[in-house]
Amino acid sequence: MNISINSLHKAFESRIRLGIMSALAVNDMLDFNSLKEFLDVTDGNLASHIKGLEKEKFIGVKKSFVGKKPNTKYFMTKKGKTAFDDHLKALERLIKSQK
């Protein structure tokens, strides 16, 4: 029963973090505002969750300039992709094992 409960990564417990990872899983890169719009959260809230995922090295940051405006884009790292895939598999296994 609890074979895979440990493989549910702590970083993905938050709904918002899971949302960020889901969006980045299907987009090469997303900027802050797009993420904010998809998730419907405040700036501060999103920033803190992004920082958390960055610390785990699950997402990376690419900074550039559009004209004079700084433009920050986020992408999923290899490590993040592996962790996210494992998380999905673990979820599926848990659902199957309870049937």
Binding site: L18, S22, E37, L88, I95, Q98
Partner: protein
């Protein structure tokens, strides 16, 4: 320990976020229905009022013997295009507002670019066809390139758009063979198929 329900909801959340962040889901079925209605009206006007008959014009290579109504036909086709596009944009904006989303996002941009590449290529080819007097091939080309554009853009919106695109491509190819019936195929593709698609999408996603 979490319940099975939670895991299922978790997966559903992930799925919905992946869809919302990679697909443009504000297209309205009504846009398809209205585009179909405009196209049918346009085809009827071309046939009845302008007396357009592709069978007589297909081998008309001499530029002096252009059908007199050609200018009118091009104008009519552009009018249908503009009407259809503005209806689609207007309805998408309304639908996005209803869902509390912003219609102009990176996905909308990607969708438009993927639509535009085949459409612009087709448009240029059609201009060349007009210049060379190959009038009969215009209608098949509009179907063909429109279908390719839809097929190309379908990965950024509802998966049904892919089928719609394939149907238009098939109709375009068939009508290039049966050029005499090109206007009929055009009315079928842009008119009838759009309306059926629109009704299907409306019932499937908007109720």
């Amino acid at each position: 320990m979490k319940e099975e329900q939670d895991y299922i909801r978790n997966l559903a959340d992930i799925r919905s976020m992946m869809e919302r962040s990679s697909k443009f889901l504000s297209l309205s079925g009504w846009a398809g229905i209205m585009a179909g209605v405009y196209a049918l009206a346009g085809a009827w006007i071309a046939w009845k009022v302008f007396d357009f008959n592709p069978a007589e014009t297909v081998y008309n290579v001499e530029s002096e013997t252009f059908p007199a109504a050609l200018g009118n036909l091009v104008f009519l086709a552009l009018l249908i295009l503009i009407l259809s596009l503005s209806t689609a944009v207007f309805l998408s904006i309304k639908r996005a507002e209803k869902k509390g989303e912003n219609v102009w996002n990176p996905i909308a941009k990607r969708l438009l670019i993927n639509l535009a590449v085949p459409l612009v290529a087709g448009g240029l080819l059609i201009l060349i066809l007009i210049g060379k007097g190959l009038i009969g091939l215009i209608a098949p080309c509009t179907l063909l390139f429109y279908g390719l554009a839809l097929y190309n853009a379908s990965k950024f919106t509802y998966e049904e758009v892919r089928t719609l695109g394939l149907i238009q491509v098939a109709l375009g190819i068939i009508s290039a063979w049966f050029v005499d019936y090109a206007l009929l195929f055009w009315a079928l593709g842009f008119g009838v198929v759009h309306i059926i698609y629109g009704i299907y999408m409306h019932y499937r996603y908007e109720r």
